[in-house]
């Protein structure tokens, strides 16, 4: 609120602005959390790698899930 004018402070406009920004940030966080639901993700894997055909080859298998 350091850049708010005296008029904005007295009319409550500055407080409203800060409140609006906080609310928008919270809404974004909720929205991100909801949209991420159901998206599969990578857990720990055991990996073996080699080089062939001018690139890296890899074999991944799942390590037993211990949490999450």
């Amino acid at each position: 609120m350091t850049d708010a004018s005296r008029r904005q402070f007295l009319t409550g406009e500055a407080v409203l602005k800060v409140g609006r920004e906080l609310g928008e940030r919270a809404a974004d966080r909720i929205s991100d959390a909801v949209s991420g639901l159901g998206r599969p993700r990578a857990f720990d894997t055991l990996r073996l790698e080699t080089r062939a055909m001018a690139c890296t080859w890899g074999l991944c298998s799942t390590l037993e899930r211990t949490n999450g």
């Binding site: 159901g38 998206r39 599969p40 993700r41 990578a42 857990f43 894997t45 073996l48 790698e49 080699t50 062939a52 055909m53 001018a54 690139c55 890296t56 080859w57 890899g58 074999l59 991944c60 298998s61 799942t62 899930r65």
Partner: protein, 310 residues
């Protein structure tokens, strides 16, 4: 150990198919088959049959007998120039699976069981095979044969990250999550796919390209014209085998959006993500063909996907 046996099998495929090894079966064939028929291994005969089917189904957009055109562009790229149309026409005259002649029909499956039974010759000097568009997928399939035979049912095998096979599932999620990189910003993902008992391969010219005369030329060549294909930004293909996914990702890149969509309509086991260059800004509009909506997740704000089938 089964896992290392599977990975080591990739070296065997490399030694067999590489055009960069003088001693590979393919190099030997390329050097000698125009002069006289050459015996080929049962595995190479099998690969050529798979290639022939893909060549037919894509109306020539996939063609492993494209070495003459690849060599032309590779030489010109090193010299910092593009070939002229007469050079391309000359290379194209030596291009095409129809320039191979089999002494006996490659469709006769019994020949695959008889070592030395199948011999191939090239109809012209300058004809050459290059399995760069299918070799990694073929290597993945052969390695997966070993893993399946040993009963390893939940694993993911990739070759250079651009080709992979996802077997079974990962951590009880009903498949393996695989991120597709945004072709414009390759440090970010734009889609996540959940793959189970499926192969995935991606082709694009966002990484491998060169510039000449102010124009950008991609590394994927159209075997029908001899010139770089340039309609799509990126193509990812899902298929029952990694060889099919690998070959079709290159073929679809060459065929363009509409022909690739038509292919998927008539081949329900093939899925595709066809991403054209953005019409404005950086918003991508990939077209998803035959991919069930519960297997794909948009993970970027810069994506508006359109869906066919699935």
């Amino acid at each position: 150990m089964v896992a290392s046996d599977a990975l080591n099998s990739v070296h065997r495929v490399d030694r067999q198919l590489s055009v960069y090894r003088e001693t590979s079966e393919v190099s030997r064939l390329n050097n000698a088959a125009a002069a006289a028929p050459q015996v080929i291994s049962a595995e190479l005969a099998w690969l050529l049959r798979v290639c022939w089917d893909l060549h037919q189904s894509t109306a020539g957009a996939f063609d492993p007998a494209v070495q003459s055109v690849i060599q032309l562009w590779s030489g010109c790229r090193s010299a910092g120039r593009i070939p002229d149309s007469s050079e391309v026409a000359a290379a194209l005259a030596c291009c095409g699976l129809d320039k191979l002649e089999f002494e006996k029909s490659a469709d006769d499956e019994s020949l695959l069981e008889q070592p030395g039974a199948l011999r191939v010759s090239y109809k012209l000097a300058g004809v050459g095979l290059n399995f760069g568009a299918i070799g990694k997928g073929w290597g993945i399939d052969r390695a997966m044969d070993i893993l399946r035979d040993a009963g390893l049912n939940d694993c993911l095998l990739h070759g250079g990250y651009s080709s992979l096979y996802a077997c079974g599932e990962h951590a009880g999620q009903g498949g393996w999550p695989v991120d597709l990189k945004n072709p414009l910003f390759t440090d970010k993902a734009y889609l996540t796919l959940l793959l189970r008992d499926q192969a995935l391969a991606t082709s694009g010219s966002n990484v491998q390209f060169f510039r000449s005369g102010g124009k950008r030329y991609g590394h994927i060549l159209d075997p029908r014209t001899g010139w770089p294909a340039e309609q799509l930004l990126s193509v990812s293909v899902l298929a029952p085998t990694a060889a099919e996914a690998d070959a079709l990702s290159t073929a679809f890149y060459v065929m363009g959006l509409e022909k690739s969509r038509e292919y998927c309509h008539t081949h329900p086991s093939i899925g595709a993500i066809l991403t054209p260059p953005p019409s404005r800004g950086r918003t991508l509009a990939p077209v998803l063909c035959n991919i069930p909506p519960d297997r794909v997740f948009i993970v970027s704000d810069d994506v508006h996907a359109d869906s066919d089938g699935g």
